[in-house]
Amino acid sequence: MTSFWAVLSATLVKDIRLEWRSKDALNSMLFFSLLVVVIFVFSFDPLAEESRHIVGGLVWVAFLFAAVVALNQTWARELRNQVLDAYRVSPAPANALFLAKSVGNFLFVSVLEALMTPLFIVFYNLHVLGPAWQLIPIALLGTWALVVNGTFFAAMSLRTRNREIMLPLLLFPISIPAVLGMVAGTTAVLTGENSAHFYIVLLLTYDVVFTTASLALFGTILHAE
């Protein structure tokens, strides 16, 4: 068990340090989602009343696309110098690596969301009518839902031709219930018309189911030869 946490924290600290020094993933994600926001602002020019209904979808589409940018880089980094092969032959637990990668991506995407949300508020003149604190569990659970499956499928698409395009093709169909939960939950809070409790429970269920499935299958995926 100690080796599990040691591997987890070592990988996580290494990823954060790499990201801190290069800022590759974060910069590309930020600029990408900024572009998405600007394009959306040009495409729809809604009143404050309408924007409450559509902005939930726009926010999450922007974050979903941006997250794919980060997720594509997460394993590609380990391919250089055969780091992943070295990991495969080492006795280190595979799930520690997976969890470290997921937590790392979760942190990066969360930072992105924290930076981008004010922009959405400014561009769309948002002001929340429902209980605003509920946006926090929706954002956290929703981000984890995207990131845990995304990390798993990114590891999966490493073995395929044109892997960059493969990740969204695998991730988006499976993520539909989670995306629906995030979008509908955010809209419910923004408009204050109905309760978001159901969507929080849905996201929680989704997270539990897919975190368990990923942990159960990641070893097979990593060692598949």
């Binding site: 999966m156 073995r159 093709l169 169909p173 499976i174 189911v209």
Partner: protein
Amino acid sequence: MKKIFPILSIVTVALLGYALYLALVVAPTDALQGEVYRIIYYHVPSAWTAFLLFFINFVASIRYLTRSKASTENAAKWVAIGIGVVGLVAPFLPPVRRLIPPGMEPSAVATTIVLIPALYFLVGKLFPGDRLDVLAVTSAEVGVVFCTIVLITGPLWARPVWGIWWAPGDIRLTSTLVLWLIYVSYLVLRRFSNSAQTQMLAAALAVFGALDVPLVYLSIWFFRTQHPQPVIGGGGSMDPRMLHVLLFSWLAFLLFGFLVCWSRFRLELLKREVEQAHAMESLAGAEDSEKASLPLSRSSR
């Protein structure tokens, strides 16, 4: 085996033709929808066949994933037996019985659930080793075809009856569409990854897809459902003559699906044999050329 195939093909063509005759001529016209409703004899049997094939794909994928380790295979076996035992007993218990929609017999529910472990063991018995993966790819491909038929005939039927092509937010429509998307992505994965690990990756994706389906269902739970409730066992509101035609159509479609799966299965097996033979040949060729080139390279030095 090879003799049965043409005989079965003829039988299938005859059955499909007779089913078409039943659907267009014999079945009575619907009181509310008129002649339009006759598309049901294509729509519903395709849907049932597609769901059955996707389920077979899931079972084959589970078996493929668990077969590498004896302990996991044992665990999966006991889970399957457990599902069978619980499914056999639970529908008759009063608290569960209340949950079953009226008009649906507990014994029918129990039989359906017992079919799950039965299918699990049947698939394991009939398809040993790598054939499990061949079964998975076959059932996914044919399932996607039948699911496409469902998604095309559905809007064609909905337009005159509901007045809209598609009801966004409807539980059955959306979950069928998501199921289709998941299996298309499964086939895309198989197409784009032609390494030795493809089979393992595809099996893992199939398990993820199967886990996703109940969640999709749950996520649209809140919305009002426009699609009618299942006609079998749901309310029993269907004319018995219509039901007879529907079940006959399903039989024809099942046989057709089985036939297509069978030929696809044989094709995939042959393809793999050819690939293997090519690999062995090039391996032997490489050894020969190595032997041949060795003295040459020495003499040139």
